[in-house]
Symmetry: C3
Subunit: 138 residues, 3 copies
């Protein structure tokens, strides 16, 4: 059996936005016990990460690390048409994930105790982001 | 249904090489409507990324960023047998992707409007690179 | 057909731990010829990478590069409750992989000649790490 949906997530500037609950709620209704959950973000200026879901400081430290690693004030970028956070977003996206796969076991994603799904927004302005969530299983 | 092929891509030094069209052309002939397209590069000195397909400057800026992030002139590497671009290639590969999954919906990869598939070559000399493309679906 | 298992890997401090043989041994007994092998690590302070399996220096150089890229002596982290190697582990995990997919062809993972599967431990102390290995195929 194969099922898919598209989650639309609203972002309000740089940072990590959790969406484990939205994904779990949809998966619970599909009636697939075992298989793979595939996640795919349809953008190149935001990305996906699986990170700790307990202490919100982790997501702030992650955001700040990437701000230092890929600085916006770098004057060497060619691609600047959409502003200083444009090329840095593409780079931060390449350094993290566009696609993830999570095992589906007994009807649930087999995430570890402390793992959560996050959209990592790299642009400064608000965006609507699309994540395709697909299940293949039986 | 499961189908696979191996795409062979010729590279001519460091940089991003698009292969969306080659992948799409093969997928269109497989007769699978919905499922997952799995991409896997069989090397550890090049990698895969999904990036913007509109402005070629993005791929040049990406290449240059990784050149600065993982400098070849670093004298601290142990693994230098194949030259200064050897260990840096393994590191750049670890920082990007060896495998990607893209949802297959209505017979096509569900890429976003601005997304393209790229092989990211990290070695200086020309190479023939192998990408295994596999579909699982119905 | 869908099959899954959980590999438990013992780590003894930072570095890359190979587990290709454990994965291959289990896969060989599942009787699935073609499909996808999905690998998923259920932690956010270690990760997965596919790297060269020939020269052990590659894994040491990789470990040392990440030590420099994400330094522990950085005093700017908020999340420090579990020690100086805590937040750095989450960042190093985000920069590498939580999930991988490898094509399964003729009953074997279609790894390149020089590719091996590694768990990348980012914590200093010994841990037991769980990797979910799942096959979907026919």
């Amino acid at each position: 059996m194969i099922r898919h949906t598209t989650l639309t997530l609203a972002t309000r500037g740089k940072g990590l936005y959790p969406f484990t609950r939205e994904a779990e709620a949809w998966i619970a209704k599909q009636g697939i016990a075992n298989g793979i959950a595939s996640l795919f973000v349809q953008h190149t200026s935001c990305s996906l990460v699986i990170q700790e879901n307990a202490d919100p400081d982790v997501t702030l430290d992650l955001r700040d690390f990437f701000e230092r690693l890929v600085p916006e004030d770098d004057e060497t970028y060619r691609h600047t048409a959409e502003g200083p956070d444009d090329m840095t977003s593409h780079i931060r996206s390449a350094l993290t994930q566009t696609s993830l796969t999570v095992p589906l076991i007994s009807g649930r994603m087999a995430l570890g105790t402390w793992q959560g799904l996050y959209l990592f927004e790299h642009r400064s302005h608000p965006h609507q982001r699309r994540v395709v969530l697909q299940l293949i299983g039986e």
